[in-house]
Structures are given as C-alpha cells and as structure tokens.
Symmetry: C2
Subunit: 217 residues, 2 copies
Amino acid sequence: MRIAVLGTGSVGRRIATKLVELGHEVMMGSRSADGEALREWVDETGADAAGGTFAEAAAAAELVFNCTAGTASLDALTAAGADNLAGKVLVDVANPLDFSGGMPPTLSICNDDSLGERIQAAFPEAKVVKSLNTVNNQVMTEPERLPGPHNVFVCGEDEEAKGKVTDLLVEFGWPRESIVDLGGISAARGAEMYLPLWLALMGALGTADFNIQVRVP
Amino acid sequence: MRIAVLGTGSVGRRIATKLVELGHEVMMGSRSADGEALREWVDETGADAAGGTFAEAAAAAELVFNCTAGTASLDALTAAGADNLAGKVLVDVANPLDFSGGMPPTLSICNDDSLGERIQAAFPEAKVVKSLNTVNNQVMTEPERLPGPHNVFVCGEDEEAKGKVTDLLVEFGWPRESIVDLGGISAARGAEMYLPLWLALMGALGTADFNIQVRVP
C-alpha cells in the first residue's frame, strides 16, 4: 500500500521503517522536504523509502499516519491539505501532550474533547482512526517484545477504515483478538486521557516498555 | 481496626461489608444518621456494623474510606470534619465523574489537578491515599473473580499510609505483587483520568467486571 507517515520523530521513524520492512511504499512527510531527520531516514532506509513535505506525502498516499507531536498535529495536517486527506484513512497516533508547564505534561485537549475528535472535525472527509497512542513506539511495531497477550485500541466513525487499520496492526504483529474496538471517535478521549496513567506507570516501572492487558472473567 | 466508610452507595456498601467480614469494626457514615441506605446496611450486616453521620463515623475511626460520589466528596469530608480526619489514613476511592452533561460523563477535576490532590490540599493533616478507583466495586473486594494477575494502584504522600492501605488491599485478596505504587498524590491524575478509557472499555466489553494487567518484558 502507498502510505504516508507524517512526522519524523521516534514514532514516525519507527512506524515508517516497519511499513517499509512489511513491503509498503512509504513516503515520510515533514514540514520541509530537506529536513535533516527526514533525509537521514530516507538514506538509511533505502529503495522503498521516500521523503517529502506533509502535502507531497499525503497526496501520494492511500493511507496516512499522523505521527506528529499532538500539539502540532492540526497545523501539520492543515499543511498536508484537506484535499490530500479526503476519502483516506488517517491513523492518528498522536497524543496532545503539553510540556510547556514542565513535567508531568498536561493534555492540551481533554475531558469533553480529544485530539482525535478535533482532527475528525477539522478534516471531515478523512476517515480518522485513533490507534497505537497508548504504547511506546517499540511496542507499537513489535508487540511480541512483551510476554503474554496485551491490548491495543482502535476507534473511529468509519467501520471499513477501522478494519483497514486493524489489518495493518495484524501486519505489525498484533494478534487480531488483542485489538479492541472502543467505538466512535469520541472514545479517543479515553485513549488519550490514559496518558497520565501511562506516564505514572512509566515512572513506577522505570521503563516505557510496557502495556496493559484487559482481563475479563 | 476501627474503620469509617463514608458513602452509602454500591462502593461504600461493598467495601464496608468486606471490612466487616474481615473482622474490622466498621461505621458507615452518611449525610444523615437515619438515611434509608445507611439503616438498611446496618440492619443487614449485623453486630459489627454501625452507622452514623459523616462526622460520627470519622471521629470513631482510625482509618477512613471516602466512597462518596466524587463531585460531593469535598463537601462530605468537610462535614466529616478536618479534626476528625487529622493524622488518619484517608483512602480516596472516589472518581470526580460529572454526569450533568449526559453520557459519557466528564471529570469535574482533571489534567492539572485531581480529586485526590484537592482532598489532600483541603485536609493537609489527613494522609490521603488514592486507590481502588480504577475498578468496579465487585473487583475491589473480590479480585480473584478475574483470571490471572491484574493490578491495583496506590498513590499518596505518606509511605506509612500507603503501606497500611496496601495491607488492607492484601486482606481484600489482592496479591501484594499486584499492587503498584504510582508515587505521590499527583499520580491520582493518572488514576482518575483512566476513567474515560475504563468507560469506553465497559462499552466495548459489555461489562464492568474487568481490570487491566500491566505487562513488562
């Protein structure tokens, strides 16, 4: 599949590299087409890796990952262009973490709204699916690094889009039965507001390399 | 131990009954000493169960559980009286869920503050420990109803108080290794902001009878 990965940070690089390994045709998008992180990733990754602006990457893709910093995501997607996102699955991996007040970060959007919902509202023709934001980038693409079953979530308004994202998660190594559909895009509130617990757990465990399994009787 | 359980809802009744079963001397506290739910619980539960006002219950206790509705907790604890809480362990089980805007509820306090922190700030001489708010009342006192290990959290400023609450959780049936210390009382933000994910999971699973296990490599 032709996939755009917007964002050149650790999450974007990890997901883009995994997609290339899986045989997808990937263009990483950045604010500027000659940014250092972008060029570095393209040079390292080889033939199936391309780089461009947010708009170039989105225009070329069938499916788009938003891996930009949550507080910059709406600007980045605006730069990508509503027309380039229209009709496409937009996987929102970002968390609206605001570090401006120091540690621990707060959320720049929460409680009666979420970044996932804001993105869906701003780009109504995109098919936004919130996913993967509840785990560290290593766990995202290498779920088998943790022992036993553990869960990842999807939510969004479009069932077919959630199905496509679920299939990609299965390609990443997530067992199908570990992928929990939380419902519509408003469930992004839950997925994003989990972050403060994730951060407290990271502090308690001394590692970001963890995830949760949901236990039922 | 002489324990006060403030709140006559399902959480308060479940915890108070478990404490009686474990041999503790329990007084349930309510806004009014002749409230119906309070009288009913006392009549049902027998010799080791007493009922009184919030202040009577707190005054008689060595340790106090706050099981009131989160949006009413500060008022209830004010009625209990700062003097009656001073020097005592105050286990805060409440979630600041605000149902006034319909479903799903929002949190009346979150992001840069939490109910646990507000209670600690309002009653600086109490030793507030946030715990058990991340699970349904059945799971609180009967963790063995779910298969395999799963976790419960404690946080607070006083190490000895967290130790006492941990011992009580072990009495409830939680394996000691399943109890995760998240740190100081500000980690109550994480424990409380998990609620929107808990609610989304309840919708997805069709049951409130679940919990999470944290997986590390």
